[in-house]
Symmetry: C2
Subunit: 251 residues, 2 copies
C-alpha cells in the first residue's frame, strides 16, 4: 500500500528579528543552518511574534498613558494598566471583561485574549501587538521567498489562542497565503453514501497546531515547514476562519 | 545542527468496526497493511467514530421516541426529531439552542455541537454516540497493544469539534492515555528572562489536529501515528482539557 506521510520540520537557528528585517531572509538563513531545502507543496508556518518583531510592532509600555478604565481594571485584578490600555486600543469590541481577563475582538475580526497584546518572548518593558494585516504579511513572505529562491510555499502566520470551554491554548492561523484555509466537504458523500452536511475543516488551524508541536515555546524556534500535506491551492485569507456574526451564538 | 522532525503516519486499510471488535486489533491489522511498525515514543490517535463503533455506541434512529421539545425544535429548524432527542439525552446542560444548533455539555464535560451525536460515517438510519468513557477506551487500547506486541504508545481518542468565534471544525482529544495532555510552561522563563505566566499548551489537541491532516474525512482512515514528538509521559485524562467552570466566561 502506498505510504502517505506528513512531516513537520522545525526551522532552527533563526536569529532574533529587528524592525525592518525580512522574515523571508530570516527563514532562509534558519533553513540553511538547519540543513533544510524547500520543496514544492510545502506549507511554511511562522509565528506572529517573529512577524510582529520584523514589522516593528513592539510598543514600549513606558510610552502608554492608561485611561481611567484601564487603571481601574488593572488595579482591581493586579494587572499592568499599560498593557490593559493597549488591549483596549487594539480592540473593536469587548466580548468578556471579567476576573482579570479581557476577551476582545481585534480589528482583523479575531476574538482572543488581550486582543493579541502579549508580554512574553519580548524584551522586558515591551509588548508585542499583532501584525496590522497578517494575510498581507503571509503574502509578502511567500512572494519574497519565490523571488529569492523559486520556492513558493503556502504561508501561515500563527498565534496561540485560548478557546471557550477548553483548557489550554493552541496554535491557530491568523494570516494565510497560497492555500484555502478551510476544507469544505459539504455535498460530498462518506463511505456509507451519507451526504456530509456540516463538515468544514479548518485545515489552516490544524496545520498551525501541527507546527507548534515542532516549534515549542521556549526553544526560540519561530518557524516550521509542514511537508506532504495536499492542501488546496488558492489565494486564501484568515478571514475565512472567522465565524460570521450571523452564525455566532457566543458574541 | 541536529535535525528534529515530527512525522504523521496515517494507518490505512483499517476495516469497518463492528460492535465487540478490538480497536487494538483493527489498528494492528491496518499497520500491517500499511507497512508500519510501532516505535517507542509514538502517539497513536484514533477517531471517536472507530472507537464508538467497536464499543457498540450506534443507535437505531427508528427506536427513538422524540419528546415534545425535540419534536418542536426539529420541526422549527427542519432537523430529524429523533437525532434532536438523542442530543438531549446525551446532554447534562444545554449551552445554546438556537438557529437549529444545539451546543451542549456532555456527561464527560465536553461542550460541543449536538453533544457529539453524529449521523455521518455511519450506516443510514443510525447515529453514533460518543464513547461512554473515552479515557478508559484509550487506556484499554494502550494496554492491549502492549500486551499483544510490547508496543506501548500514548493513545488519544479524537473527535472534530466546532469552536466559538472561528469557522470550521478541528480535531481535538476527547480521551487520553499515557501522556500529559497539557504542557505547562508557567513559571519557566522565555529567552528574554520573562516568566511565562499563562502559557499552558493543549498539546493533546494539537496532536489530534496534526493527525487529522493525515486521516482526512472521506478516506476511511480512522487512525494515525504521530512519531518524534517528545510528549510528557503520565497517566493523563481528557478532563485536564476541560475549562474549569469557575474560569469559564462562556457558560
Amino acid at each position: 500500500m502506498e505510504r502517505r506521510e506528513i512531516r513537520i520540520l522545525p526551522i532552527q537557528g533563526i536569529r532574533e528579528a529587528r524592525p525592518g528585517d525580512s522574515v523571508a531572509e530570516l527563514v532562509l538563513e534558519g533553513m540553511e543552518r538547519t540543513g533544510l531545502t524547500g520543496e514544492p507543496g510545502d506549507v511554511l508556518v511562522v509565528t506572529q511574534k517573529l512577524v510582529s518583531k520584523a514589522e516593528g510592532r513592539l510598543v514600549r509600555l513606558d510610552e502608554i498613558d492608561p485611561s481611567p478604565l484601564a487603571r481601574e481594571y488593572a488595579a482591581r485584578w493586579e494587572r499592568d494598566a499599560r498593557q490593559v490600555e493597549l488591549v483596549l486600543r487594539e480592540s473593536v469590541r469587548i466580548v468578556r471583561m471579567d476576573r482579570g481577563l479581557i476577551i476582545a475582538e481585534t480589528r482583523h475580526g479575531f476574538v482572543c485574549a488581550n486582543a493579541g497584546v502579549d508580554l512574553s518572548n519580548v524584551p522586558a518593558g515591551y509588548a508585542a501587538l499583532l501584525p496590522r494585516d497578517p494575510d498581507a504579511s503571509a503574502r509578502a513572505i511567500r512572494d519574497e521567498l519565490a523571488a529569492r529562491t523559486g520556492w513558493r510555499p503556502a504561508v501561515i502566520v500563527s498565534d496561540t489562542f485560548g478557546r471557550a470551554w477548553r483548557n489550554g491554548i493552541v496554535n491557530v492561523a491568523i494570516g494565510v497565503a497560497g492555500l484555502r484555509p478551510v476544507r469544505d466537504y459539504r455535498g460530498e458523500r462518506d463511505p456509507f453514501g451519507n451526504e456530509l452536511r456540516v463538515t468544514v475543516i479548518a485545515v489552516a488551524d490544524e496545520l498551525a497546531a501541527a507546527a507548534e508541536l515542532a516549534m515549542g515555546k521556549l526553544d526560540g524556534c519561530p518557524a516550521a515547514i509542514v511537508r506532504g500535506y495536499a492542501y488546496e491551492p488558492g489565494e486564501g485569507s484568515a478571514r475565512e476562519l472567522l465565524m460570521p456574526a450571523e452564525r455566532d451564538l457566543f458574541r
